[in-house]
Symmetry: C2
Subunit: 695 residues, 2 copies
């Protein structure tokens, strides 16, 4: 593939050849779309015509007599390889294949796509598509696409959000829906089958694009997830992702818990959230979050919000919507309450939400609103103001430019929760947005958007300056043994212990008498386990005896387990550890994201409602600490119910080592530490499984 | 209060007096609203006018010379008691007080409202309000409200959903927003301060109202929650509730876990869900759920859904939206796949979602759609069809009446996911709805609405015929002791054991020697606990010694605990039980819902993310079984990870007994069984706390 710098030619070609140009259907659409806006040369290619839309039509790209560096191909799939060869001969090294009929149609299409790929690689050509709708650049009025030219009548607005969309028809739908919602777009890129150019190539380009402030994506898979995550972490612009297909049945039955917890979307979500990506749920949430992020470049990540309303009920519903989304309701200062209180009747103590109704009745709308607004802006404990407004009930609209200027001066964020008549609402919305103030009609959406802004700001403040992988990775670690497949618990923990991960005290034992000696050394009560080759479910198979308190119980347990595991098995005696709670840690190689470390809660309830997070491995100490703090139930780790807080330094060290072991030894496919018991804040691996390739 | 039958006069009065009628402001609005639609007598009352809007104006209600049985009062608050006395003198026994300035304004207002109440009670008068917007009846064009007459221009539609709204301004906002969304309304009732008429009175009326199919409510509290829940359980119509204020800081620090788990909204939510109420999150979800429930009277509760779309991406997003909401994606039968497959190209196996694009390319839109539609309708494994549609891209609209007739014949439910141009969408939506087919533009909303329908249908099928409280409640149970306040664990479990709730084997002990004898009888390992009067946090205070395996450990533990608890304390020796998992059960008296039983998961993670459900006590066996199955993580109880399933009969029996004990003994304010350990499926109370009134 060519260096990525050449991506610019797709967006800014000197001339464009339209291979498959026509006077009807899609081939006509492409020409019409180019004629309506593109300033460079346009060269229709079709041997059946002399001209199309007043442009000279050529029989082949090789006959073009002007500067041309991009071809849009819309001929039947079978003819595409010939077209690519002609393009290569002409020196056209950027091609958007918009035709369908490739890998999406089965084996023959896959072979056809591979042929295209081979031709392109040999020529040093970049391929965009196939099976895509191409690209649209609204500020520059470039429509390199077969979308119906009527799409321009859908109210499309130039703006500063760029889109990358995997699914073909969705890209047209997204454009139309954004127009309907009055949201402006910079570039919209439909990427189709991604035989060469993919979301990473385009993301890299858009992150440098001066017309793009936010990148929003719709993807159903992310084959170069690792690259995507690394780019996102370094990005200086917000990235919003709608990941379709989260719910589908995930990978087939997996052997380790770490692997099954990764699921179809959990790992992707977790890694990308760590990298600062805003994950959206649903099309409209994606659009509204992207739009809000484009309008709010800065906010204190605390996001403490004051609410101004004329309706007590609306204030209550807004509180609910904010708290569901983890946005705190600001505590107004004594000073603010005193100052704002001057416009309220004496029986009405000022609180947040600020219910303006009694103040309006006393002082009129202007005085009441301005008093409350100024008071909330001046309060150092307020980061954002949400103003509830009913359009159409009052004739006069706020002076948005003035409100926004005052809010910006104080470093505060404004948002409107707008209800009321449709016509009035539209004008209100457009004027407010022109001043950079987001407007939504749904309280929950305001909560979701404020959460997106708060998280993105927190990410910006915490992101390290550079993405330097830990330097200490030099040689593969020495493995105590070398067999492929599932290692038993003893061998697995030996590998961990060799690399300074704390494990429970344990010994293999060959006789009941020896077990008794070891038990005295470990101290009763002890645990006895039978290790059978390849057996991953000891408890379910009755191979675990907990709470052995005396020698005669030990003797009986030894005899039984020895019988069960047989000659090829082993018996393990172990200190019985009672932790304050159970965690789980792991390592795996993900097909999209490569080596990753997992961390989360253990125990039976965590199996029912997993609370695990993932990060690319290797990871440094800072990333490990962030990972630890990223679980949903982080409260458990900070001294919950009088238990000592987790030793974060020890835990982070364990995760860094786990990532190093896995990364440095390519034959390790998975490591599972489950449970990782926490006693007085200190982690110890009580059971573990290593899975080596070649099983 | 009068019998509820008299509620009808509020909605169907022969004549209405408007006390505070005027030619301007709110007093004018009320008259204008009446003139525009009400067919009965209208009597403006204001001594300053001779006539208003062409109607004779009276100085007082007592002077009215026609039949009048309802007064709408909009005079200043201080004048209201006098008005009520005049109404009583005239025999007007139904009064809507729309004036503000009562209990919502502080102590003086509370006193004023109490005076009104006293006058009304003495006269046998029903009061609606004060501080409310009255009522609107759209099918009959009755506006008994001071809302601005321009509200009629907001596109209000008569329909079959009735509203009960606690907050004043929200009722006007709801009406306008429903109009904007093209959703029809029957009656809208703004209930204000509820000094007499409350949501229960109106709900009872609307459940009998022939013009109402669904009742939707916005409430911020539910003082007669118990009555509401009982009515909801018996209701033959869907009830949708948006409960504002869920997020607020709940009750102050509570002494028992059961009480704190009840929280502000968890108990309300749980009890009402058990009673078949649809709980909405946010205003628009409430509206859309109510509307969908009004259009879909029947569905198989399994809700297995087939998806028809022209966009693969849309199909994927719809799957996500359905699965998030627990709606299963239908498995198409072999027969369906074969039949529908005939219209598809051979390389495209038919699956659900049915992506019609390749079939359209092959056979045209009509054949493709009709083939897939017929196939899905005929499939016995399909209960609902969601059809994705882009308005404006095709000229011809579906024949909604025909689609709906065919779907109904096969007992299937149809919904449209509609995207596209605004104008086209509006026509499409209105036509589809006229045929009884719900249309939404948000995939997630379709998932939420289908879930609401599926749950309501499941409730209808499971609801018992009559709400008969268990008959065995006769006498208060005998209490082993009679002190008020917090009982210690031993006394608490003695109460439970007396009433046949299984508790762990345990004895009080007065000496180390006795403890040793008891330990031999119980069997090592044992647990020793120090019981100090009023101490609810034994573990945190170091008063619990687990896992005592030998006599010398027992001796040391006894000495230490005896020292700690002192003369007034007691020492308890207990069998050490290791369960498969921990549950929790409890009883409490809720201020809104009265005696309730709680059931849920125990353990530390369940404290972080509570999974508990509540039901009114006493409860019968069937309700107890439903309660057990209502927890989020019900999978844990059915044989998770090879553990034996919970003995539902024993568990239900325990909950019934718990409810009986609490209900029959009014001095019990709370009972907490925590943990309730489950061993081989059988529950046993390991620790418990009883709290008696008078603490």
């Amino acid at each position: 593939m060519n260096p990525n710098g050449s991506m610019d030619t797709f967006f800014n070609p000197r001339g464009v050849a339209v291979v498959g140009a026509s006077t009807k259907n899609l081939g006509h659409h492409v020409v019409l779309n180019l004629v309506n806006g593109f300033q460079g040369g346009i060269y229709p290619i079709n041997s059946n015509y002399n001209e199309i839309e007043g442009l000279t039509c050529y029989a082949a790209v090789t006959e073009i007599d002007g500067p041309v560096d991009l071809a849009i191909v819309i001929v039947p799939a079978g003819a595409v390889p010939g077209v690519l060869e002609a393009c290569a001969a002409k020196g056209i090294l950027h091609v958007i294949i918009e035709s369908a009929g490739f890998s999406e149609t089965g084996p023959e299409g896959i072979a056809l796509q591979a042929r295209c790929d081979t031709i392109a690689r040999a020529a040093g050509m970049r391929l965009w598509g196939p099976n895509c709708m191409g690209l649209v650049d609204l500020p520059n009025q470039r429509f390199f696409t077969f979308m119906h030219p009527a799409i321009r009548r859908e109210g499309l607005l130039p703006g500063r959000i760029s889109l990358i969309v995997q699914s073909g028809m969705m890209s047209a739908i997204f454009l139309a829906e954004l127009g309907r919602r009055g949201i402006g777009v910079a570039k919209a890129c439909s990427i189709g089958n991604r035989t060469d150019v993919d979301e990473c190539d385009i993301l890299e380009y858009l992150l440098q694009d001066e017309q793009t402030d936010v990148v929003a994506l719709y993807l159903e898979s992310m084959p170069r997830g690792r690259r995507f995550a690394r780019m996102a972490r370094q990005a200086a612009k917000p990235i919003v992702l709608l990941n379709g297909g989260q719910s589908r049945a995930g990978a087939t039955a997996a052997m380790s818990h770490t692997y099954s917890l990764a699921g179809n979307a959990r790992l992707l979500n977790s890694v990308l959230v760590q990298a600062g990506v805003t994950m959206a749920e649903g099309i409209f949430q994606m659009m509204d979050m992207a739009h809000t992020l484009s309008m709010i470049p800065h906010m204190n990540p605390a996001g403490r919000t004051a609410i101004l309303t004329l309706s007590g009920g609306a204030g209550i519903l807004m509180c609910d919507a904010l708290e569901i989304n983890g946005i705190p309701i600001a505590d107004l200062s004594e000073e603010t309450r005193r100052k704002v209180g001057e416009i309220f009747p004496p029986w009405m103590p000022v609180a947040n939400p600020i219910d303006l109704f009694p103040a309006v009745a006393r002082n009129g709308r202007r005085v009441a609103f301005q008093g409350a607004f100024s008071g909330a802006l001046a309060d150092p404990g307020v980061d954002a103001l949400v103003i509830h407004f009913v359009a159409g009930l009052e004739a006069d609209m706020p002076d948005f430019q003035d409100l926004q200027a005052r809010a910006r001066k104080d470093g505060k964020v404004l948002m409107f929760w707008l209800m009321g008549r449709r016509e009035g609402s539209r004008t209100f919305r457009d004027k407010a947005r022109a001043a950079g103030i987001p407007v939504h009609d749904d309280a929950l959406r305001i909560g979701q958007c404020l959460r997106a802004v708060a998280r993105y700001q927190a990410h910006r403040q915490s992101a390290p300056g550079a993405d330097t992988p830990p330097a200490q990775i030099t040689a593969a670690p020495s493995l105590p043994i070398h067999q492929p497949g599932i290692w038993d618990e003893y061998d697995s923990k030996m590998l961990l212990a060799t690399h300074h991960i704390p494990v429970v005290t344990e010994f293999l034992t060959d006789s009941s008498a020896e077990a008794a000696i070891l038990a005295r050394r470990i101290g009763y009560p002890v645990v006895l386990k039978g290790l059978a080759p390849g057996e991953a479910h000891k408890s379910e198979r009755g191979l675990v005896r907990l709470n052995i308190g005396a020698p005669h119980d030990l003797d009986r347990a030894y005899t039984e387990l020895r019988d069960k595991v047989g000659d090829r098995g082993r018996v393990l005696i172990q200190q019985q550890v009672t932790g304050d709670y159970e965690l789980i840690a792991g390592f795996l190689r993900d097909p999209q994201f490569g080596p990753c470390v997992m961390f989360g809660l253990g125990g039976i309830l965590a199996e029912l409602e997993p609370d695990v997070v993932f990060e690319l491995a290797p990871l440094d100490n800072q990333a490990a600490v962030q990972l630890i703090r990223a679980i949903r139930n982080r409260r458990l780790l900070t001294g919950f119910r009088g238990k000592p807080p987790l030793d974060e330094v020890a835990m982070a060290d364990l995760l860094v080592r786990l990532g190093d072991i896995g990364t440095r030894c390519p034959s390790i496919s998975q490591i599972d530490i489950n449970p990782l018991l926490i006693t007085k804040g200190t982690p110890v691996a009580v059971d573990a499984t290593v899975i080596m390739e070649g099983a």
